[in-house]
């Protein structure tokens, strides 16, 4: 287990250190980002190894992971030794809260106990049962077994759902390749770890914008969603997509606050990793571009060195996502089977049913509790903050953009029925659902509490 997780996390930590030389790579926040980055790098290394018909085995993967880490290390050394040490970015800024009253302390203690209970539950439940979800058995898990057995992706075009990105199958295959045999139970370790990593990054982001109390409340609100908890215990790609997607938005917000371009590069890499996780990841890039453009338009100081910023924002994402697209195209696999425009129907007739379905999924299921309702009420109660705080405006814009994307996909593509199915729609909403909690916390945040 040390090797299975250690290799990617170490590569991720070196990558992180290369971007943020002034930060401790072994703090929980850094490790949580390193975990996601490391898994992304692992996926890319396995993909390239497979694409060039080298055997996907421990030796090859470890060698190329080591090479990737060495490149990061060289960049880091160039930053820190050959040149002047880079200034420590303002990433650890935390707002001091007022002296906490007894009631606030009790509330914080309750929130901590509540969060700890659920983290324990997620780990235990995930590792008690073997993989059993439909998607894992029918698609991701099966592909992982093929990769594990054949050590290649030569026959990709015959895979079930061949156009789907392979990040999760690669992670599962890596686990079992190192283990030496197929294990259906402990392969699920990735999911509680992704869950935990996301929670730490989420908490860290809120802690930088608010006080410890509000950050804890934010995590507690996040945990009130049944679907989020459930996805920490099953083996679906959606939690990984949520992690990369919401991290991208949070890093972009951090970039606009700190003006540190390392966040831009990190966003771009995570956007690429997201695109390597689910097909939706390709489309979500539009939201990141929208936010990037919005920040450039609204903050003059961000426009310095615009060309370099555009390169930093686009090149890593393209280099992470384009090779697989080209590989699919050259191997006769449909590039994106989900976004085929449906020309056979009257689009407008679909709009009402789509909106009703979204309404039902957001407000009348136990998946999100009443968080979306609270978000709307919070927005109405604090509408003045939208003009005052760019973070809040950006979050609201991104939430609307994500909804717009999925409504458009439902209305205009052949994916209509599948997307609006009872089990599918909540899963795509899950990819950006934590933004609602961020909005609730930031809209209601009062420094005096």
């Amino acid at each position: 287990m040390v090797f299975i997780l250690g290799v990617p996390v170490l590569a991720g930590a070196i990558f992180y250190k290369c971007l943020f030389p002034g930060e401790n790579p072994f703090s929980p926040g850094s490790l949580s980002v390193s975990f996601g980055a490391g898994m992304g790098i692992l996926g890319q290394v396995m993909l390239y190894t497979g694409m060039f018909h080298r055997g996907i085995n421990i030796l090859n993967v470890t060698f190329w992971m080591g090479t990737a880490a060495a490149v990061c290390l060289l960049v880091y050394l160039r930053k820190c030794v050959l040149k002047k040490p880079a200034a420590v970015p303002d990433t650890g800024r935390t707002l001091p809260g007022a002296r906490a009253s007894l009631a606030v302390k009790v509330l914080a203690a309750c929130a901590t106990v509540y969060i700890a209970t659920y983290v324990f539950y997620v780990f235990m439940h995930a590792l008690t049962l073997p993989v059993f979800g439909w998607d894992t058995i029918a698609s991701a898990g099966f592909k992982a077994k093929v990769i594990f057995n054949e050590r290649s992706i030569r026959h990709l075009k015959y895979f079930p759902n061949a156009s789907f990105p392979l990040q999760l199958p690669f992670m599962m295959a890596w686990f079992n390749i190192v283990l030496g045999k197929w294990n259906d139970q402990y392969v699920k370790i990735f999911f509680p770890l992704v869950f935990m990593s996301f929670v730490i990054v989420f908490y860290g982001f809120l802690r930088k914008c608010t006080t410890r109390m509000w950050a804890l409340l934010g995590v507690a609100l996040l945990f009130s969603s049944n679907l989020f908890i459930a996805h920490g215990t099953i083996s679906y790609r959606d939690l990984l997509m949520l992690y990369y997607n919401v991290c991208c938005i949070m890093f972009l917000l951090e970039w606009s606050r700190t003006k540190d371009d390392s966040y831009l590069v990190l966003t771009s890499f995570f956007a690429g990793f997201g695109a390597s996780t689910k097909l939706e990841g390709y489309v979500y890039v539009l939201v990141y571009i929208l936010l990037f453009t919005m920040f450039l338009a609204m903050k003059n100081e961000l426009r310095k060195g615009l060309a370099a910023k555009c390169v930093k924002f686009s090149v890593p994402a393209l280099s992470m996502s384009l090779p697989f697209v080209l590989y699919k195209a050259f191997n006769g696999v449909m590039v994106n089977q989900k976004f085929v425009i449906d020309t056979s129907i009257d689009y407008l007739s679909r709009i009402i049913s789509t909106l009703l379905r979204f309404n039902e999924s957001l407000f009348l299921t136990a998946n999100w509790n009443i968080l979306w309702f609270i978000m709307i009420v919070s927005s109405l109660a604090n509408y003045k903050k939208f003009r005052a705080d760019l973070k809040i405006t950006a979050l609201a814009v991104s939430v609307l953009a994500f909804f717009a994307i999925h409504i458009c996909v439902a209305v205009f593509t052949v994916n209509y029925e599948q997307l609006l199915a009872t089990v599918t729609l909540p899963r795509v909403i899950l990819h950006f659902f934590p933004l609602s909690v961020l909005l609730i916390v930031l809209l209601n945040y009062r420094a005096e509490v």
């Binding site: 509540y114 209970t117 659920y118 539950y121 235990m124 439940h125 008690t128 049962l129 073997p130 059993f132 439909w134 058995i137 029918a138 898990g141 099966f142 077994k145 093929v146 057995n149 026959h155 015959y158 895979f159 079930p160 259906d184 139970q185 507690a220 609100l221 009130s224 049944n226 908890i229 407000f363 009348l364 299921t365 136990a366 509790n369 009443i370 968080l371 309702f373 609270i374 009420v377 919070s378 109405l380 109660a381 209601n444």
Partner: protein
Amino acid sequence: MLGNTHPYILLYASIAVSAVILVCVYLLSKNNVKAGLYSFFARNIFTVGLIMLVLSVLFQTVYQINHYFKDDLKLLRVPLTTKKTGIFKTPYEFAVNAKKTVTGSRSAELITDMNINRGGGATAYHSLAYFLYPIDIKVRPAYEPVDTCIMFYKKNAVKYVPEGFYPVYRSGDMGVVAIRKEKPCRF
């Protein structure tokens, strides 16, 4: 009367009723009703919503803890194969027994009466494919000649063994594994 009402509609209704009560209290207690009514209303709806959320979270947590101690804790000591049999039932048992008889990577064709595109048939098909692997009924037959036939949920399965194949494993009337004659298997 409320038995069939959606629980979340009840929740929103109770928030709305609370809001109306709050507004009435506000109207009765203030002389200048217009000033601050909007923010008072919005804030209090938010507070009531939050209280409802905390209540539902409490119920949810109690349920989860109860579920954990009642079911999950017992499963910790159960062997993995027993858990898989419990979850996947016949496809898993059939696949395990078939793999005891036929080993190695194989290109296999599935012959079945199930509708493998919808509902329970699809679930059984994907579970079978997952657990049968490396006897491959999904990917390998597309690019390699079939050397194994899997008859699963096929009435009088033995009758349907194709020419040139012979049965090596039988599971009741509905399940048979047959392999090509010229490719002897290691068992």
